[in-house]
Amino acid sequence: MITFHDVYKTYLMGETRVEALQGVTFELPERRLAVIMGPSGSGKSTLLHLAGCLDTPTHGRVNYNGTDLGALSSRGRADFRAQSVGFVFQKFNLIPNLTALRNVEIPLLLQNKPAAEARKRALDALDAVELRDRMHHRPSKLSGGEQQRVAIARALINDPKLILADEPTGNLDTRTGQRILLLLKGLVEKGKAVVVVTHNPEIAASANTLVLLRDGKVESFSTSHGKEGLV
């Protein structure tokens, strides 16, 4: 469903050019778990941003179900982010002065959904991450694991087909991180394609697709077909 074709991403830092991605080509399937690994600075986040339409490639094409993401207008990219993809960040990225419930509602409100519908769907999403009892808390009153579960609820609220998680356990202790990873893995059963950047070898072992990046290039790409690959 998502294909990278000879993708380059170059950042300009004053005079210096940082080649974050250098000719990346691969394809990730629907309804599967993909894990992206690689040392720090190898371009994992950059890759995820391009897949999630948060940024555009310097060269090459990123395709989602036949749509060339690089060709979308600014508005088209916003709508893609709203409808087709859910992002989960290492730093949770919740809006600090809004309650958990409001944070989860925001994507729906941006889509002009009626307040009542937004409320109902946000509550369902919070139920799914077992945080309904925390819905009136602000992020600062929630633990890291809870914040990340709110973030997952928010990513799911518009029912996108693609969930992108950039080191979602990086700011969590091992036990909590384990729980988050299980939660993300569980989404595959609900029909989502889940792409996780992580250093966790266990989840890497259970992934259908494993992409290993080094210095902005794909060092290895492995796909396990068949049932045993499914979580």
Binding site: H49, G52, L54, D55, S74, R75, A78, D79, R81, A82, Q83, F87, F89, N93, L94, I95, P96, N97, L98, R102, I106, P107, L109, L110, Q111, N112, A115, R154, N158
Partner: protein
């Protein structure tokens, strides 16, 4: 969406309480200045114009050409309005009185030149004037002089006002209605009759039927006027036209300038402190009285003021009278023009305050965009369009502007209510009320929202343009 945006914006304003309030305060000060200055300005204008309206826009005043000029004579300038305390024996400011000096409107051309240099104008023949000038319906002469008055128990120098019978009939309002409280008004032109202002009667300790001596001639007291205070109360109750504030004016100002006509009346006479003798008597008793006085004329409805004025000037020349006609319309237009200019200046100053408030708002919004960069990144990551991010900030700043506007409107309103209390007496228009037109209120609210939104426009535009990845990396 708009509603959601407003909710989000309110949430944001609340979560940055101190900064928001300081920003709102900036707008509030500007709006307060605009509202209070404009409402007071409009209030002054309306109060002044109401006084002219009470006198009548159909009135033309013909004043003798003196060193003081027409303006001060007709508008209650210092030469006439200030001299109310004539019950005390001493004449004002070192000038010695020959009785005909004021009575003939012969005034020193400059304060230093003393009584020697005087200009004496002949009286206007009102019958001839009415005949010669088409478009006039009434005309009457009114003189004032200071005379030595001896009563049964007290004596002193008092102002004597000398209206003609026709004047009394045609222009009673210029003498504050000339309402008799005790006794009767003049009965004939052949006997020496005097009507006395309320305060003078009290000071002299006289009543109906007493006989007093004015400049050597004996006069029978036939009437005592109601004090201008009670007259103004009555007239406002009767006409229902005047507002509370105006009615109270009589209480606050010496001599009582309760009625609208008082502006003119103050220039002519002061009914409470004056004595009234028919001009017909005065002319036959005191020869110098012939040269006194103002002439008041009333135009017919539909008469053209310019034409009437030209004809009057021509007739005055024909009569050999050194006098100039000034129409109430002219005076009102001049004053309105001046007031309009003052208002414009005040409004500009107030607008500067508003702009400063807007700049404060812009600064806050700019800082807010910097502080909320990460949040903008989050919003964009979950699907906010550029326009939505921009709208969020615009609503945010617009709301702060609007809150400042509403509070400024309330505070400005309160300020101007207190301000008019102080200003009224100081400006000499009595107390008056500020005027809050719908235009002012709606205009201020719209303007404060627009200023808020405009000040936020550039920061909001910047916010909407942020690259989501860079925005998310902020902090």
């Amino acid at each position: 969406m708009t509603l959601h945006l407003v909710k989000l914006a309110i949430n944001n304003i609340r979560s940055r309480r101190t900064r928001s309030w300081l920003t709102i305060l900036g707008v509030l000060i500007g709006v307060t200045a605009v509202v209070s200055l404009l409402s007071i300005g409009t209030g002054v204008e309306q109060a002044v114009l109401q006084q002219f309206k009470d006198i009548g826009y159909d009135i033309i005043v013909i004043t003798p050409n003196t060193g003081l000029g027409q303006a001060s004579a007709t508008m209650g300038g210092p030469g006439f309005a200030g001299q109310s305390a004539t019950t005390s024996a001493a004449p004002p400011s070192g000038r010695t009185f020959s009785p005909d000096q004021i009575g003939t409107a012969s005034v020193p051309t400059s304060p230093s030149s003393g009584p020697a240099a005087t200009v004496t104008a002949a009286a206007v023949d009102t019958q001839a004037l009415l005949k010669a000038v088409t478009g006039l319906v009434d005309a009457g002469n009114l003189g004032t002089r200071v005379a030595s008055v001896e009563g049964p128990s007290a004596s002193g120098f008092l102002r004597v006002t000398t209206p003609s019978l026709s004047f009394l009939a045609a222009f009673p309002s210029i003498l504050g209605g000339f309402t008799i409280a005790n006794g009767t008004t003049f009965t004939n032109t052949t006997e020496n009759e005097v009507v006395i202002g309320a305060r003078s009667a009290r000071t002299l300790g006289i009543g109906i039927g007493d006989v007093i001596t004015i400049d050597g001639s004996e006069f029978a007291v036939i009437g005592i006027l109601a004090s201008s205070r009670s007259v103004s109360a009555e007239s406002s109750a009767a006409t229902g036209r005047r507002r509370n504030g105006t009615a109270r004016a009589g209480a606050g100002t010496v001599g009582g300038v309760g009625t609208g006509a008082s502006l003119l009346a103050r220039g002519m006479t002061n009914t409470d402190d004056s004595l009234f003798v028919l001009r017909e008597r005065a002319v036959s008793l005191w020869i110098s009285q012939a040269g006194s006085s103002f002439t008041i004329v009333r135009m017919a409805t539909g008469a053209k003021v310019d034409q009437v004025m030209t004809s009057i000037s021509a007739e005055l020349t024909a009569q050999g009278v050194l006098a100039t006609p000034v129409s109430v319309q002219q005076i009102a237009a001049n004053i309105q023009g001046t007031l309009g200019m003052i208002e414009t200046v005040l409004a500009s100053i107030a607008a500067v305050a508003l702009v400063v408030g807007g700049i404060g708002l812009m600064n806050t919004m700019y800082t807010s965009v910097l502080e909320r960069t990460r949040e903008i990144g989050i919003l964009k990551a979950v699907g906010a369009r550029d326009g939505q991010v921009m709208a969020l900030f615009l609503v945010d700043s617009g709301l702060m502007g609007l809150i400042g506007g509403v509070l400024g409107l309330v505070l400005g309103g309160l300020l101007s209510f207190f301000g008019t209390r102080l200003l009224g007496p100081a400006l000499g228009v009595g107390s008056f009320q500020p005027v809050f037109g719908t235009t002012l209120i709606v205009g201020v609210l719209v303007a404060s929202f627009v200023i808020g939104a405009l000040s936020g426009a550039w920061p909001a535009w910047r916010a909407s343009r942020l690259n989501p990845v860079e925005a998310l990396a902020a902090e």
